[in-house]
Amino acid sequence: MRESSINYLKRHRDLRQADILLAQGISEDDLLLPENEKVRRIRRMIREVGTEYHYLKSFIRFEEPRRGILVGYASPKHRIKQMLADHFAHRFPGNLIVVGDERSFCLSLLSERGRLRVEVKGSIKVLRRELGCGGREDEGSVLWESYYFSQYEPRRRNLGMFKRRMPERYRREVKLKLKSTPGNVTLDDFLKNKEEECSGDKDISYGLL
């Protein structure tokens, strides 16, 4: 089996030692049509971790409270916080990447002097507060909301597709929220209202002004 598949399997929250032993004895082709429920379980676990990792690489958002420190909230079901931090450490060398949730967070740094990888038990909220997150860096979030809604084409409205592709459980990572709207209209309100109201371009600005 591919190393990446084994790696995903090892990070599944329900992993048992027997799963690893079984996985070491089978090939990728065995996963195509599993012979029994145990192999089917291995396939399901690999897919679940892979899907979550794929989603969160896209949906995680960072703040930069201090130069060279990027802090992102992510609360994955599986043990992939370090993988996520490493992914962004490669993307932003010289920056300390912090990824985690209320239970723990992982740090990753890739620089000319070497590599740092640390897992810390504790809440990222405390760290965010200490670093002064939530200030000016919201600039990016406000700007992105302006941009995001400019890309919406009312004629192509397809909320079913939107909900399938952007599962609700990741909305917190994505920070999709219309904070600047009078009355704090949320994305869900926006989507609900759009069902009746968005028939033309003018309506797009409704949620932003």
Partner: protein, 397 residues
């Protein structure tokens, strides 16, 4: 000091400049009919003094409520334009659209800000031609030069080539970007005259594409070059669109042709015309997929059109299967090409079927489903253990 250290705040006030928000919104809106959202690039990235990298395909930082992927900061550099494209809200003959323009530095900073916070995977920069296409193209290039040079940005960049710009600008754009594109918009000089009389189809568009193709021998583009056509903008038939797309793939060497159904926009000379149904656009994507990904030839695909040269209201692959298959396909013995002809079986599931049957026979529809076959569509065309569904009208009972 790396690029990030040089990046200041986007506005001097405590809250983000409202004018800047309006600009981002207006210029973003002006580009939303450009369909390409691909971020996949073969460029390799290394070193420590940089911001960003190119990433895996299929990444989408968000989806809009229309279900489309938002992975790039897709924007116009300016929405000022002297061309008189009848369908475009930015055109010289359209009314009521306030004109905005970025500066290179401003645009570069916005891209870096959004990229570092992981809102986007890169930049897709298009533009109206402003007062002069050469000057506007220069400024677009300057913005990307700032990103690549001053800020060390190594993320994905798709740069639009403006119609009619000089070869030097095209070459420089290709050195900087992962992908470049110029939209052909329509199928011929005469249809171009119907929708955008100020553009010369041969000189402004096709000759620029030829420059790109020639320059690619010297400056290979990591993500190739692409183009886009408006479906139903003029009176062209689906067959004309398909033939032009095949020409683009074969002669111009484009990586992808994108399609966008004509949408009537208020304030444009075409505001009274009826928008083209999105289904028609979808049929072109399905057909394009059959040609580009599945490898069916132009000749094989001619049979999916009706006598007037239009696509059917159903999936073109159903029509293709009726043309090419003599009878039901046995997944245990069929060739890769035969499997690909069956609706509901794509290259991935066909590949899996070939792999698995080297080990054992496929015994049930459920197994096919597990291999990724869309069984509801495929089952009428399959023969499994001597059994088949008998509802297929052209094979009889």
């Amino acid at each position: 000091m790396n690029g990030a250290d040089k990046l200041g705040h986007l506005s001097s006030s405590a809250t983000l400049d409202v004018e800047l928000q309006a600009k981002v919104s207006a210029l973003g809106r002006g580009s939303r009919h450009d369909v390409c959202a691909s971020t996949s690039s073969s460029r390799s990235v290394s070193g420590f003094r940089r911001i960003g990298a190119v990433s895996f395909p299929g990444v989408c930082q968000a989806f809009t409520p229309d279900g489309r992927c938002v992975s790039l900061f897709k924007t116009l550099y300016t929405n000022a334009c002297t061309h008189s494209c009848y369908y475009c809200p930015n055109g010289a003959m359209s009314r009521g659209c306030r004109k905005y323009s970025f500066t290179p530095e401003e645009l570069a900073k916005i891209v870096l800000k959004l990229y570092k916070e992981n809102y986007i995977e890169g930049l897709f920069l298009s533009s109206g031609v402003g007062r002069d296409e050469e000057r506007t193209m220069e400024e677009m290039i300057e913005a990307v030069e700032l990103l690549r040079g001053k800020y060390g940005f190594e993320g994905y960049v798709h740069l639009k080539i403006l119609p009619g710009v000089g070869r030097d600008h095209i070459r420089r754009a290709m050195e900087l970007a992962d992908r470049v594109s110029i939209n052909i918009e329509t199928v011929s000089s005469s249809t171009m005259g119907e929708i955008s009389p100020s553009k010369d189809y041969l000189t402004d568009i096709l000759r620029r594409q030829s420059f790109i193709r020639e320059e690619m021998r010297r400056t290979p583009l990591p993500a190739g070059h692409t183009t886009q056509m408006i479906v139903g903008g003029a009176e062209e038939r689906d067959l004309d669109i398909f033939r032009r797309a095949v020409y683009e793939y074969r002669k111009m060497g484009v990586r992808r042709v994108y399609y966008s159904a004509f949408t009537s926009i208020e304030g444009t000379p075409f505001e009274g015309r009826e928008s083209v149904p999105l289904q028609r656009e979808k049929r072109h994507y399905q057909l394009d997929w059959l040609h580009r990904v599945y490898g069916f030839s132009e000749k094989e695909l001619f049979c999916v059109f009706d006598d007037e040269g239009y696509l059917p209201a159903e999936d073109p692959k159903k029509r293709l299967a009726e043309c090419l298959l003599d009878g039901p396909v046995d997944p245990n013995t069929a060739s890769f090409k035969e499997l690909l002809t069956v609706p509901g079986i794509g290259p991935v599931s066909a590949g899996r079927i070939i792999r698995i049957r080297k080990r054992r026979r496929i015994e049930s529809p459920e197994e096919l489903s597990e291999l990724g076959v869309a069984l509801k569509r495929a089952w009428p065309y399959l023969l499994l253990r001597g059994w088949r569904q008998s509802t297929l009208r052209w094979w009889g009972s």
